[in-house]
């Protein structure tokens, strides 16, 4: 085993200054491979591994023979190095968080996910356990879960934590079901059919509430950018089940009067739920408990560094006060005299959000991240995230054409929703066109959730993971793009030019008839091949068809 000494053995001499300073604006060009589908690379007889010929008789007695399929699966025939090159090329055509300055994903910016944590998450003690094996054989995992629960309880101020949800939205859904179960236990579930949220809160609040059958009431911002408190007071009643709210909201302005909202909803018997999907600016600084909330949740992939995993599985954690803890879903870990064990779930517990115990590898990553930082480190994370954000804010406000609506002159917490309304009015170039041009500089860019309340929006969240040089690169790319909008608007209207692909037909991407999520679907839809119909579940003819809202386009 090699031991790497991380302590410097001697004070290093300062590096000599480079003769030429590299400009902040990169001469970037994305890779473009025009890569075929892996099925199109298939060549008969090619193999990744040459498996010895089987002796059918020798397998006769094995359990696998019972369910072994008779026909070979239709996988491509391809060699190892061809597979490697195929996926490496595809990865070069993306702008992931490990590649670009990914602060343009405001509200969803992923912080750095330390690679060392993969060693713990991927260790045999993690990946080779089965959720049903005896707890005496997985004491380490249980200890990690137990301690992670206690850390998140400390960070939020809540009494109990459930780690079962496999995503942030699943955790919010869990909170909605807890609200429902709580009111049911008091015989008020029917009467309390309204959930209140705000337009600048996490949209999953409204979405999950509606999924669970609630009527959703949305508060819009007052002239200062805060949810209109008078509007809240005007609509709360004995029909109010809960308030789901974020603080700070997508504008990044901390709401100092948050307890007034909480008190007003408590006064009519409603539950207050703090959406802390993004708590990047608050670790060790402000807690849900002190603001009076009954429930909260964290996206562990947002705030506690675990990967987003391309849409899942991620991890969400729910925090509850003692009053609501009995309704938490899933098994929780308790420490007994014989070690760690699954606690017997309360009779009031809500239904499991997913099978078993949550996404253990992600919970291990979050645990490792917290342990490596310690309490002071967590607070420092937030302080740096806030500092980075306010640095970007100060620099961007010097760019002609961009504004930060609401709270003029104030500092923001961890993100800002900017507006290009002025630039758009003067040049006709929209925020989404600026975003397309940013791809030419190797930068990801996002506007806002719909509906656009801030006109021509841009949302940036630097987190603590980016250096000043990287922030300056992003700012420079934006400044340069804004200047291009004035000097050559037509250029932006056709962008991008140096990206892997050109603009995508948004309507096509939202039309399922154009999707091919499997090779078979591709052959059927695009090559006209016919396949035997797969038996599918057919809805009963009298089943009511639910109306669904349309897909919103982000651009």
């Amino acid at each position: 085993m090699t031991v790497i000494d991380t302590e410097p053995t001697a004070v290093a001499a300062p590096l000599p200054a480079l003769p030429v300073e590299k400009p902040l604006l990169r001469d970037y060009h994305a890779a473009r491979w025009d890569e075929p589908l892996i099925f199109q690379l298939s060549a008969e007889g090619h193999r990744g591994i040459d498996v010895p010929a089987e002796d059918p008789a020798a397998l006769e007695a094995t359990p696998e023979s019972v369910f072994r399929r008779s026909d070979a699966p239709g996988l491509p025939e391809i060699g190892q190095s061809q597979v490697l090159r195929h996926y490496l090329r595809l990865s070069q055509e993306t702008l992931g968080a490990d590649l670009n300055v990914d602060i343009g994903q405001g509200t969803c910016t992923m912080k750095y996910s330390p690679k060392v944590n993969e060693r713990f998450a991927g260790s045999g003690q993690s990946v080779h356990t089965h959720p049903l094996q005896d707890t005496s054989t997985m004491q380490g995992t249980l200890q990690i879960l137990h301690e992670l629960e206690s850390y998140l309880a400390e960070v939020s101020g809540m009494d109990a934590v459930s780690l079962q949800a496999g995503s942030g939205s699943a955790a919010i859904y869990g909170n909605v079901k807890i609200v429902q179960a709580f009111h049911e236990s008091r015989g008020e579930a029917e009467q309390r059919d309204e959930i209140i949220t705000t337009i600048f809160s996490h949209p999953s609040n409204a979405a999950t509430a509606k999924t669970a059958g609630y009527k959703v009431i949305t508060l819009y911002p007052d002239e200062n950018g805060f949810p209109d408190l008078d509007a809240l007071k005007a609509v709360i009643s004995d029909r109010t089940a809960a308030l789901f709210i974020t603080n700070p909201e997508d504008t990044g302005i901390f709401n100092p009067r948050i307890t007034e909202y909480v008190d007003a909803v408590h006064a009519v018997g409603g539950i207050c739920v703090y959406d802390q999907a993004n708590a990047n600016g608050l670790l060790g600084i402000a807690r849900a408990r002190e603001a009076g909330f009954d429930l909260c949740h964290f996206n562990l992939h947002k705030t506690f560094s675990t990967p987003h995993a391309c849409g899942g599985p991620a991890a969400g954690a729910i925090g509850a006060t003692n009053e609501l803890a009995p309704f938490l879903p899933g098994l929780r870990v308790e420490r007994t005299s014989e070690g760690y064990a699954w606690a017997k779930p309360s009779e009031s517990a809500t239904a499991d959000i997913r099978p078993f115990h949550g996404v253990i590898p992600n919970l291990i990553r979050a645990y490792t991240w917290i342990r490596s930082l310690g309490p002071e480190g967590l607070r420092q994370v937030s302080e740096i995230a806030v500092l980075n954000n306010n640095y970007v804010l100060a620099q961007l406000l010097k760019v002609d054409g961009v504004t930060a609506p609401y709270a003029a002159g104030q500092h923001r917490i961890e993100q800002v929703r900017y507006s290009w309304e002025k630039l758009a009015g003067e040049t006709g170039v929209s925020s989404s066109q600026i975003g397309a041009r940013m791809a030419d500089y190797g930068m990801h860019y996002w506007t806002s959730h719909h509906p656009y309340v801030v006109p021509e929006p841009l949302t940036l969240e630097p987190t603590e993971s980016y250096s000043k040089r990287e922030l300056d690169e992003y700012i420079e790319a934006l400044r340069h793009t804004a200047a291009e909008a004035r000097s050559n608007p037509a250029l932006l209207q056709e962008a991008p030019y140096r990206s892997s692909i050109h603009t995508v037909d948004v309507d096509a991407t939202t039309d399922p008839d154009t999707w091919a999520t499997s090779w078979r679907a591709y052959r059927r839809k695009y090559l006209g091949e016919e396949f035997a119909a797969v038996p599918r579940w057919q809805p009963a003819t009298d089943l009511p068809v639910r109306q669904r809202p349309p897909k919103a386009h982000h651009r």
Partner: protein
């Protein structure tokens, strides 16, 4: 504009026939035939009264101004009726002042007033008046519109006479700003046939910041069927079949009617009763007649881009009708995208009389979809 020394020099123009078609349900007032029809249907000229409201508020604010009015019905009469002897009446270029007021008179008056060296030309009228005023102005002239048309699409209007007085008072104190706004007008004849098409006629320099104007109307983009369908389904459960439900203009309200299998007039006010449209495209007088003795409900959607809920495009809902309406029976619908573009509100209410305004303003629930509401502040314009 010069505001550094001396009083603010204000030129006044009233288009006495502006807005006549509104209460009559005529979608506009262009042309002498339409104006005659509006008068026959009981419409009362109101643009002079709106100029009067502005002048009274301006006097209350006690700022240094100097008035120069167009003669007779074109301005002078309104100033006198408001108890304000205008400091001067602009000499009319012709031998005698005009008796009938035509588009050309407005243009002539605008040119004559600006030739006398005014700081700002204030006119009461609608989009047609704005067009006619623009035709008489040079590129550096500054205007301010008092909304007195049926449903203004141009961005040159203050939200109300009172807010216009506020903008003028700021300018008189030397803290005014100007902005550039578009003059837009629609083809009223096409609109009567249910076709909305508007044309850009140029730009004017306007007194006041863009945020102080009522804003140009933003047309409905084609909303996905599901959005309007959700609003329609939600409203179907809230419309009381026993009440007389007045359906206001606009595509969102029309979608609610369509959801109930009804073919409403896109731009008029219709009456829904027991699942049937009992009257369509009504004037104020007709609405009074049809709904007499019945409880009222009113279904309205704000004007996109402007946020006006009452007083633009639906003047048929006059003071007497609104006074009969219990505020809880005012149903408001708005698509989420339109509401977002309006910054989440406020919605403006331009109604005569402070009592009515007080009854209708404050935070209100707005239907934005199936089992989905927003809370929006209603505010007097």
């Amino acid at each position: 504009m010069s505001t550094a020394a001396g009083p603010l020099r204000i030129g006044l123009i009233v288009n006495p026939v502006a807005g006549l078609g509104g209460p009559a349900g005529l979608k506009g007032s262009d042309g002498t035939d339409i104006q005659a029809e509006a008068l026959r249907r009981g419409s009362v000229p109101r643009s002079a009264a709106r100029m009067g409201r502005m002048l009274r508020e301006l006097r209350r604010r006690d700022v240094p101004v100097w008035l120069l009015a167009a003669p007779g019905a074109l301005g002078e009469d309104a100033a006198r009726a408001a108890g304000w002897e205008s400091d001067a009446v602009v000499p009319w270029p012709g031998a005698t002042a005009p008796a009938a007021t035509t588009a050309a008179d407005t243009t002539t008056a605008a040119a004559a007033l600006t030739a006398c060296g005014i700081d700002v030309l204030v006119f009461a009228g609608g989009d047609g008046t704005a067009r006619d005023v623009a035709a008489g102005l040079g590129p550096d002239d500054v205007v301010l519109g008092l909304p007195a048309g049926v449903k203004m699409q141009s961005g040159v209007f203050a939200r109300s006479p009172e807010s216009a007085a506020g903008i003028l008072a700021d300018a008189a104190r030397g803290v005014g700003t100007t902005s550039v706004a578009e003059v837009v007008d629609i083809d009223e004849q096409a609109r009567r046939e249910g076709i909305i098409s508007s044309t850009l006629y140029g730009q004017l320099r306007v007194l006041g910041a863009r945020a102080q104007m009522q804003g140009g109307k933003v047309g409905s983009r084609s909303e996905p069927r599901e959005v309007l369908g959700g609003i329609a389904a939600e409203c179907a459960g809230r419309i009381d079949p026993e009440a007389m439900c007045l359906l206001g203009p606009g595509t969102t309200v029309a979608a609610v009617a369509a959801g109930m299998g009804l073919d409403s007039s896109l731009l008029g006010v219709d009456v829904l009763h027991r699942g049937r449209l009992v009257a369509t495209d009504c004037s104020a007088a007709e609405l009074h007649q049809v709904t007499a003795g019945h409880r009222l409900q009113v279904l309205l959607s704000p004007v996109g881009g402007q946020g006006f809920l009452l007083g633009r495009g639906n003047q048929q809902l006059d003071e007497a009708l609104l006074a009969r309406l219990s505020p809880a029976e005012l149903l408001i619908v708005c698509t989420p995208e339109k509401l977002g573009a309006l910054g989440g509100g406020p919605f403006y209410v331009d109604v005569p009389g402070p009592d009515l305004a007080a009854a209708l303003t404050g935070p209100r629930r707005v239907v934005t979809g199936r089992r989905q509401e927003a809370v929006v502040r209603l505010q007097a314009a």
